[in-house]
Symmetry: C2
Subunit: 394 residues, 2 copies
Amino acid sequence: MTNPNIPFERSEYQQRLAKTRAAMADAGLDALFVTDPSNQAWLAGYDGWSFYVHQGVIIPRDGDPIWWGRHMDMMGARRTCWMPQDRLLGYGDHYVQSTDRHPMQDLAGHLRALGLERARIGVEMENYYYSAKAHAVLTAALPEATLAEATALVNWQRLTKSDAELGFMRKAARITDKVIQTAIERAAPGVRKNDLVADILHAGVTGVEGDWGDYPAIVPLTPSGLDATAAHLTWDGTPMRQGEATFFELSGCYRRYHAPLSRTVFLGTPSEEMLRIEAAQIEGIAAGIEAARAGNRTCDIANAFMAVMAKHGIERSGRMGYPVGLSYPPDWGERTASIRSEDTTVLQPGMVFHFMPALWMDTWGLETTETLLIRDTGAAEPLCSIERKLFVKG
Amino acid sequence: MTNPNIPFERSEYQQRLAKTRAAMADAGLDALFVTDPSNQAWLAGYDGWSFYVHQGVIIPRDGDPIWWGRHMDMMGARRTCWMPQDRLLGYGDHYVQSTDRHPMQDLAGHLRALGLERARIGVEMENYYYSAKAHAVLTAALPEATLAEATALVNWQRLTKSDAELGFMRKAARITDKVIQTAIERAAPGVRKNDLVADILHAGVTGVEGDWGDYPAIVPLTPSGLDATAAHLTWDGTPMRQGEATFFELSGCYRRYHAPLSRTVFLGTPSEEMLRIEAAQIEGIAAGIEAARAGNRTCDIANAFMAVMAKHGIERSGRMGYPVGLSYPPDWGERTASIRSEDTTVLQPGMVFHFMPALWMDTWGLETTETLLIRDTGAAEPLCSIERKLFVKG
């Protein structure tokens, strides 16, 4: 019987494993220890809010992946991983947030039992779920092994999406359309921001028709007025005010897959300056999308946008986007390529980016963004379908 | 003018700083670099969903804390930190998720400029937001400094809550009551789990009267039937079924403060076995609460619960709770003391624990938990007010 908790066919997991093992071979790794929850889910299927304790997936040279985590969470692994039960390993609760013991001591024992005592083992040095302490303890417990930097080794394999993944992302995009539409419709002077966010969350998790909504890896970012000069404020209970712009950076989520989008709503009459800059931003986004085609590079998207900005006398540099797909908190980006002028990743069909050339000014902010699918030919396809403009409500 | 984004009085932040500096002195630290977002908010006020990039708060021996993060997020720091603007430091976007540069190189420059080149600087080795790579880069960039393990140094200062914090937690508890009540009322055969979660999220963020709801640090955990044998599954679109138990582990959140609670709902007629074990669990929780009093230790709570379980022939060991308060994803626990038999933390008035002696059985799970405030005298006060029982709905 197929386990309904496992989102993809077995063959898809085997393909992912094969891609990962090819990258491991290139990096000269005997094994890989994956701590990024997105990578764990992508390779093994594991899904649960247990990443706040140490856990991971071991990819040996041969055989199925091995899920390792808190004993209590093995039941969740049984319910969500595609591997047989003998590929699940659990550690006792006395390792959890203890000052005397560390779960990596338990992991080291398993790695030794797998014959990896002197192996070259890849670890994700730059990951939220692989702490400085975890690395120190694992290093000390495996003195003859080499723990090699393998940050984003798996993430790079995730850059080009399979058809099945794109199917999930299109469902996520329909949910995104719904939540952005909800935000635009509900925004009005006097509406408390948290009441609006409550409606956004409700719309997102309800989903669209049979496609239920999962939790996005980032909560709604919905700042207004001066708060919108900051990129990452969330919400509070202040009523929305006439004369202020509010941006909504939101994503639907379908079985952990995302398709983020931002739109800005202005209540009242925006200034000439804001309208001028908005027109430039829309023109720049169109130029970026034109440049987002197979064979071009990530920097071409950023440069196309910045060229339009320069023409209009607007300064905007920095990072303007990142790949998206499967993710867990705290980030829905994949942390590999970036859309910025120094990044030269070659675009290929099936890659998906959140192109977000937002503009944060001295006294207001304007976010209009798109999730873009790189196609076989032609310009990228925006996955969402909300009109690209500043929404002005009287 | 008081900044409405800053939740506490200046004097409260000064007290927190004084407590932290006393602990730093005990640990022989010249400075402390705090990466835990909860600690950053507790000390500096900073609030934003930007912890997915490197940021932190530097506590020098003297003077105000210094917030350091991505340049883009300095605007958020201006909006939410209590310190003057000259105590905010930003790094450029070319450091963000780059393979060539690391933000810790920028931080090292600031620490040198502060005269800390040869100092003993505390770092939170075991934290989601201090990666193995961050530590390696900072160590290499400050070869003459000593980076000393200071995990949870600040968290321990947070264990006993101020009256102002308890006020926030009581508001959070009212929101928790509302979300648990929503879950109990809405649970029925045929209701899709995600639709129920949508209502839970809506209720939580709407809040109670004027007290708006913030995002909890953990999303709703709402597994049914066999999935409830696992501790940390979230939800899907499956309709609820007659004959299954569903547990709801939820928290209201008021300005980042939590008061988690779990209740279980059974649709139909529970087995004699489940009712017997539920009665034992309720009896055990009452015994635990009786033991949760100033002067006793955390282990006394666990032991009181386990003694009742043993009397009824039920095996339950492991961790049964943790302190709660201010938190950011991925954990609403404070990661200091634990309610477990080997933990001997002495209970003091003002401490607050999520006492969660949940029972995960072979084919079902039962979670009934309380957030407990340790009082000056007498048994602990449960902050929420939902009846403590298995909720059976026909």
